[in-house]
Symmetry: C2
Amino acid sequence: MNETGTTEVSQATGKPLSARGLATRARLLESAELVFVELGYHEASIVRITERAGVGLGTFYLYFDSKQSIFEALVLDLNARVRQAMSQAMVGATSRLEAERRGFEGFFAFTAEHPALYRVVREAELVSPQAMREHYARIVEGYREGLRQAQRDGEIAADLDPEVTAWALMGVGELIGMRYVLWERDAQGRAPRSIDPQVLDAAMRFVDGALRSSRRPPHDHDTKEAS
Amino acid sequence: MNETGTTEVSQATGKPLSARGLATRARLLESAELVFVELGYHEASIVRITERAGVGLGTFYLYFDSKQSIFEALVLDLNARVRQAMSQAMVGATSRLEAERRGFEGFFAFTAEHPALYRVVREAELVSPQAMREHYARIVEGYREGLRQAQRDGEIAADLDPEVTAWALMGVGELIGMRYVLWERDAQGRAPRSIDPQVLDAAMRFVDGALRSSRRPPHDHDTKEAS
DNA sequence: CAGCAACCTGAATCACCTTTCAGGTTTGGA
DNA sequence: TCCAAACCTGAAAGGTGATTCAGGTTGCTG
């Protein structure tokens, strides 16, 4: 929550922090998540957000500069939460590959519970490109470091580029999540608790192969290979 | 253009086709692509689209039911074009892995030239989820069949699930394209003609590994493995 | 060149929205 | 208990835009 240091300060009125105000701000953010997911940025109206939050219309502007401002706050909030969910899920993994699987599981579970992640981040492309890039960049950052470490430990192929690989892995997660978690929910009306284990297995088979032996003609040499 | 068979008919007024009208419709679609890319769905207005197309406001409704309707037509049009670009690029490949690389190249080149692809498809999530799914589903379909064939030919690992793998590969392309093609354009102001070859190499190292040996512990057993 | 389709036009209608603001309410400390 | 600071409120100002419609224009046919 305190990720950006803005939590204790109203973006709108300056700096005066709060007591009751803090709760109101939180209620607005929470309501915004629901409303934005349901209606999208443009269809969502401030009135709807405040109504759902149970506060007056004017109250909104005590905590946020504008509609765009609360949207950006929501992107950052979701970003912090999904990263938290992923690293939480990875705790206790005994290998990079296991960590990878658990990270994916955490991501899919979060997706199942917070469809806002996709909706909001995708809309951010137009509403606030800067916030969207920030979102992806932060995820990649941690990812890349994990991969670097795994390379040092000899757990994954040495000839992979950690940065590009991180983006690739994020892409795998994004589309698999969209197709097999997000889209499943509409099929029946009910959302899956998380992902179909068989799909996860299939996805991890792909990922394991990619990380383990990114280049390995039949024999079994050293993995170093300049291109 | 004739993908859906709607080209010769006005969605709005019924069926009467056209002569001069056909050109007007095409001009509207073209203008819509430009305007939607520049402003996004909601900021774009019908007036802007008609002005850029050089026709009167009312004319719009002779050819499209609504703003949403022209947006959907645009999604389908882009989808047909990107798939065409990809399969065109794959012509002449002598192996699945080479086809894979060329397909990616084709996709990245198209992305560089038509940022509309990302913008419009991402917005479709809210504007017309149905059109968005259609877009992804059509791409995956061809992909999946290509993978199946490659499995039959023993070119890629047999234990991969073609469908899940297709989504995974599409994810790799989507995020790598976003980061290294789309985002590069803003850095300097000028768009790259396509992707940095080093990045493409790195990405293909990842993909090759994933497809070639999806599971290969030091020894060399059967690949079957229940979870 | 009359006449009739097929086309085109843009002011007006209708429906909302974001943001402001003048003033009311609540809370906590002295 | 009292009061200032912190909160809250919702009507109204100032906008925007999709869609309709009554009527004008174009161009082909005979």
